[in-house]
């Protein structure tokens, strides 16, 4: 299922934060939004996940407008992992993941056997089976992020939106989470839209990169077409050299200095 954003504008009060955003992410693609701080990445994610109301413009899942869809129906097609999450101290991983079945539950019904199988499957997929009894708060950062991803998997949606899934994680957990995202994308054909800060990671794990600056998308395309010295200079204000990573088959950059 693909997600299309059409001429989207979002304002906070009088301030326009997103201006005329249009793009489309195809089925089975990993699209990564990059951009400097304050460029509107998280705002775009929030609008796409219906936490913010756009002033104008539309978002489509497949060919349906999300503001004409029931929020539960959207949740069955689109899962969201925001940055700000909260979990009580006595919620086990298993319980947390089972909350992902909420959009599929009928009013007043409990989890049926099929739901439980899906929870098992999500735990298996994210490698959380061994940790299912643990309290989510007692896990390490990487494990906890995996538990949340398992929750969104249990939603059984075709599209998943991740807002900075690697923030606050050390390098091995960052890798772990991104490898998991790619694995899920490849084995399940999930469409992934995420925000990343690390440009090397974005280049390595994305099919498509969207670059944001000042509330607009200034360019988008395949990583090797988008990430170049000009872009790094103009948007990210750094001088950098770009190399070819033969092992991972992607480009990588080494920053030299900032542009004053």
């Amino acid at each position: 299922m693909n997600l299309t954003v059409d001429k989207l504008n979002v304002s906070y009060g009088d301030k326009e934060v997103l201006k005329n955003i249009s793009f489309s992410v195809n089925k089975g693609e990993i699209a990564t939004i990059i951009g400097p701080n304050g460029s509107g990445k998280t705002t775009l994610i929030k609008a796409a996940s219906r936490c913010l109301k756009p002033t104008c413009g539309n978002i489509y899942i497949g060919d349906m407008k999300i503001d004409e869809m029931n929020t539960r129906t959207i949740a069955q097609k689109l899962a969201v992992l925001p940055q700000v999450k909260n979990v009580s101290s006595d919620v086990s991983v298993e319980e947390l993941v089972s909350y992902g079945r909420y959009p599929h539950l009928k009013f007043g019904k409990k989890l049926c056997r099929e739901d439980k199988e899906i929870v098992d499957w999500a735990l298996e997929k994210t490698g959380m089976k061994e940790l299912r009894k643990r309290y989510a708060v007692s896990l390490s950062g990487g494990e906890r992020q995996r538990a949340w991803i398992a929750m969104t998997l249990a939603q059984k949606s075709r599209i998943i939106i991740l807002d900075e899934p690697t923030t606050f994680l050390d390098i091995s957990y960052q890798l772990e989470v991104l490898e998991l995202v790619r694995e899920l994308n490849q084995s399940l054909g999930l469409t992934v839209i995420m925000v990343l800060h690390d440009l090397n990671q974005a280049a390595r794990y994305s099919d498509k990169i969207l670059v944001m600056n000042n509330g607009r998308i200034c360019c988008m395309g395949r990583p090797e077409d988008v990430v170049n010295t000009c872009l790094l200079k103009d948007i990210f204000k750094i001088n950098a050299d770009i190399y070819d990573d033969k092992i991972n088959n992607c480009l990588f950059l080494i920053p030299r200095n900032t542009i004053a």
Binding site: K46, S49, R50, C51, K53, T71, R72, T73, I74, A75, Q76, L78, A79, V80, L81, P82, V84, K85, N86, V87, S88, S89, D90, V91, E94, E95, S98, Y99, G100, Y102, P103, L105, F107, G108, K116, V119, D120, K133, T152, Q155, I161
Partner: protein, 334 residues
């Protein structure tokens, strides 16, 4: 999922719930049995089951039973209300006071009792209306493209202090009439009758049923507004609905018992310390712990210094606060 641990956990929670139900039932017998005349449990049961014409039966039916039921219902309503609010606000300090229930009910009651004493019989209705109006006013003030928990809490604090100023002003201008309303201000159940019970029953039962039907949503709301939205909950609408239910519950209770603030803050925490934060167990448990706490405290309030009766609010704080602090120290993770 069907592993042993999970089942043990469920059985444990269900047994705790069962214990709470038993305690709550026992508190009824204790409350009805104690007072100026002591009545045995057997006598109570036979009087309740087969209406007799004995003096004790008269005492039970006309005095103690309505009072105990009123105590139980107000306890349940206030505790549920607090429990809901702590969930939707994701704030452990939330209580019915935060959505203006006490200040709104207090002001309206003062206005009726002091400025229009000839309409004293409208005081409970006034308290109820005042609670609801204050809640709506706070929610309205907090609204700006949605009403987040923090804005509601801050607006609640501001409105409560504004209405509190109104309360104090009235009491300052009419010092001679203040002594008559002390019972209301600290919360008391003296002279409650069947009329009070019938006043509160419709709101209490409607509130309890609604809460039990949608308690699952509270678990999802606890995950944060954005996660809950992602899981298909209309966060604003759900939060508003829960706030109105808690205002209804607390407003109904306050109209009978007066400003009994403590129950709504502490009983949900006590219950959570025993049964955990899963609302599917917490809500049913709170119904019984709220009832138990107020019924027991009211019994003590009636009997401890008999024939003098002290307002239940005083007993509740004097006993409840230390007990709560004890629980707090014992459970390290809280």
């Amino acid at each position: 999922m069907d592993s042993k641990n999970m089942k043990i956990e469920k059985i444990k929670k269900k047994s705790i719930l069962f214990i709470f139900i038993c305690l709550s039932a026992a508190s009824f017998l204790i409350s009805i049995g104690n007072g100026a005349v002591k009545i045995s449990a057997g006598e109570i049961l036979s009087a309740l089951l087969f209406r007799q014409d004995t003096v004790n039966s008269q005492i039970i039916w006309n005095v103690r039973l309505p009072r105990t039921i009123a105590a139980s219902l107000t306890g349940t309503c206030l505790a549920l209300s607090g429990s809901i609010l702590q969930g939707v606000m994701r704030n452990p300090l939330a209580s019915p006071n935060i959505i203006g229930v006490s200040s709104g009910a207090g002001l309206m009651t003062l206005i009726v009792l002091i400025l229009f004493p000839e309409f004293y019989f409208l005081a409970p209705l006034g308290a109820f209306a005042g609670a609801l109006l204050a809640t709506m006013f706070i929610y309205f003030l907090a609204w700006k493209d949605g009403a987040g928990p923090n804005r509601i809490i801050l607006a609640g604090v501001a409105v409560s202090s504004l209405l509190g100023a109104g309360n104090n002003a009235i009491m300052t201008f009419y010092p001679d009439k203040v002594s008559g309303i002390i019972g209301f201000m600290v919360g008391g159940l003296s002279a409650t009758n069947w009329q009070d019970v019938f006043t509160i029953i419709p709101y209490a039962s409607a509130g309890i049923i609604m809460v039990l039907l949608i308690q699952n949503k509270l678990n999802i709301l606890m995950l944060g507004d954005e996660v809950a939205t992602g899981l298909g909950i209309n966060v604003e609408r759900t939060r508003f609905f829960f706030i109105i239910i808690s205002s209804l519950l607390a407003g109904a209770a306050v109209s009978v018992v007066g400003l009994l603030g403590f129950v709504g803050l502490i009983v949900p925490h006590m219950t959570r310390l025993f049964i955990g934060s899963d609302y599917r167990y917490l809500m049913p448990a709170t119904i019984f712990t709220g009832s138990f706490v107020v019924v027991i405290c009211d019994t003590l309030a009636r009997t401890m210094f008999a024939p003098v009766e002290i307002p239940v609010g005083i007993i509740m704080s004097a006993l409840g606060a230390p007990f709560f602090l004890y629980l707090l120290r014992r459970k390290a993770e809280y």
